[in-house]
Every structure is written in C-alpha cells, then in structure tokens.
Symmetry: C2
C-alpha cells in the first residue's frame, strides 16, 4: 500500500457513523433551506467543519453526496402503515402525507427541483426516494387483495401508488381548490376506494 493510499484510508476511517449523520444532516438542511443548487461541497464543509478534501474523497461528487444523504434518511413516509383494512391504510397514508408535507415541504420541494433540473440524479432519486414509497403503497393494495377486499386482477390496483403520489404532487398546484389538508382523504374516499371495489 502506498503511503498516499494508507493516509487516505486512515483519514476515511476517521468518519464515524455519528460524523456521517452530521454530514448528511447538513446536506438535508441546505437542501431544505435553499434547494439543490444551494448544496455545495464548500457549504457542507463549512457547516460541519469537515475538510472539503474529505467530502470529495468519500463521496466523489455532489449528486452522490446528496443521494447518500437522502437514502440514509430512510424516512419512508408510507412504510409502517398496516391498520388491517384497505380503507384504514389508505386513510392513514393520506393523513401521514398531509402532516409530512407540512413538516418537510422544503425538502420535498428541493427533491422535486433536483429531479427536474438534474437528469443525472433521477435514477438515484427514484431508487432512494420514490421507489420505496411506491413499494409501500403497492404493499397496502397487495394485502387488501390477500384479504379479499380487492379482487385480484382489479385493473386499478397497479394505478393506486402512482395516482396517490401524483395527487400529492398536484395538490399544491391546485391549492386554491384544496383549502384544507383533507384533499388526499377525499381522494382516497371518493376516487381510490370506489375504483378498487368497482369490479367483482
């Protein structure tokens, strides 16, 4: 091992899990406050008193650092939902979505912005942010099929997850129509549940 490589390995090993969490938190804070463009290696280094060289050595590029921070966050919003009924699960998802939106609207906005502006980030964002949410909603529907609440093969089953996320995205664009946080609940009750029970 060259002296240089040994030094690099030693330095890298200095990043403890706590330190890593601190770095990721700084990335998410910058994302939340100023959007993707406001995240810079310099900014993260300054916030955490971490050497810029360490950031580059560990994560290589800004997209990789941001993706790692979002992936580590692991806050799959719809992940833990399991009330025992389809209506209960989807209503809980609507409730969680509304409170999450309020709590972390800045971060969600930054993710949406990065998604649109930086095609190189899309695959990573899909994998770390979008796919787990889709999988969680798919699981809600799959359990309802298993329980016999939804007929297997109902053509709406595959559309629930994208329709739910789409409605969530459009909600703010149509905000003059939805003056309270119950738009998602209304969507569940008036659109998704009837569609899922429409056949059979």
């Amino acid at each position: 091992m060259s002296t240089q490589a040994a030094t690099a390995a030693a330095r890298r090993s200095k990043i403890t899990p706590e330190r890593e969490t601190e770095l990721y938190d700084a990335v998410l804070r910058l994302l939340r406050e100023g959007g993707y463009d406001s995240v810079t290696m310099e900014g993260v280094a300054a916030l955490t008193k971490c050497g810029k060289a360490t950031l580059y050595r560990q994560w290589g590029t800004k997209p990789r650092l941001v993706t790692a921070a979002l992936a580590r966050r692991r806050c799959v919003v719809f992940g833990g939902i399991d009330t025992g009924t389809l209506a209960g699960d989807l209503r809980e998802a609507a409730r969680v979505a509304a409170s999450h939106h309020e709590r972390d609207a800045g971060l969600m906005e930054a993710v949406a912005q990065a998604y649109i502006q930086h095609p190189d980030l899309r695959a990573a964002l899909r994998e770390t942010v979008i796919a787990p949410e889709i999988a969680s909603i798919d699981a809600i529907v799959a359990r309802a099929v298993e329980r016999g609440e939804v007929e297997a093969g109902n053509p709406a089953a595959d559309l629930v997850a994208p329709a739910f996320l789409g409605m969530l995205r459009i909600e703010r664009i149509c905000e003059e129509r939805f003056t309270d946080t119950s738009a998602m609940r209304a969507f569940v009750d008036a659109v998704l549940l009837p569609a899922l029970r429409a056949t059979g």
Copy 2:
C-alpha cells in the same frame, strides 16, 4: 407628452402582431431547448434581431415575457373535447395528453422547472397554463352531470381534474411501470370512470 414618452410610444408601436409572434416563438424555442434558465433577454434579442431595449420596454422582466409567450400560445390541450359521453371525453383527453406529451415534452418540462424554481412565476403560470386545463376537464365532468351520467354531488367530480393532471405529472417518474402511452387511458377506465359512477 414628453419627447421621451413620445419616442417610447413610437418605438413600441413598431412591434407588429407578426413581430410579437416571432418574439414569443423565440421564447418558447429557448424554453423548450434549454429550460427556463436558458431564456435570457439577450438570447431572445439575438434570435429575433430585436433590440434588447425594446424587449425590456415592452415586457419589463423575463418572467413577464415568458408568461406572455405561454399565454399567447393558447394551446389549451383539453379545450376542444366534446364527444357526447363522459367516457368518450376522458378517453380523448387521455389520448390527447399522450400525444401532446410526446410532441412538447421539452416545453412541459421547462414549465414544470420554472414553476418549482421561480415562485414569482407561479401565479402567472397557474393562470395561463394550468387553470385553463383544469377548467376544460371540469367542463367535461360538468357536462356529464348535466346529461345525468354522473350524479350531481358525486364527491369525485371535483377531484377528476387534479387527479388527471397529477397522474400526467407522475407518469414519467413511474415510467418503468408504464411502458406504453396507455397509462392515462388505464387511469380513466380503471379509476376515474368507476369513481364517477360509484355513487347513486
């Protein structure tokens, strides 16, 4: 009238409707090709051989110029649809959305980007780009209520337009799930139509 004001009025009057169309086309071309950030007063001036001073005098700011260009475009995608039945109208909207998406994905992407990045543009974009589409879909549903196809007061009625636009927005994010252009058609048939007929 001061000499200065008279000169300004004379200059302004030199912008013929044809010239205006040419300027708006240049704005939309820049938007389509490089997104909102690539639209500059300099770029539009260079493309059209128009004086930059004229652009500033006439439109004041870039957001106002972009908004005017989008508003003049007047291509309300769902505007002319009237097949005589609810299913026919919504299926036609799905078909038009798919072909429009393909044809003008670059411009739609640029509008979405501008919407997210530039809060000062949002009100204008809502009014010129989003509201007319929502109104067109609302009109489809309203006609179905008049014809008795949908019960008045069906709680899904108000949600059709946002759900449709939301699904359209999310479609590309979930594109591995929707490998053809029929996702919107499936959404109409399996989700919207059953929901609209679910009560009553």
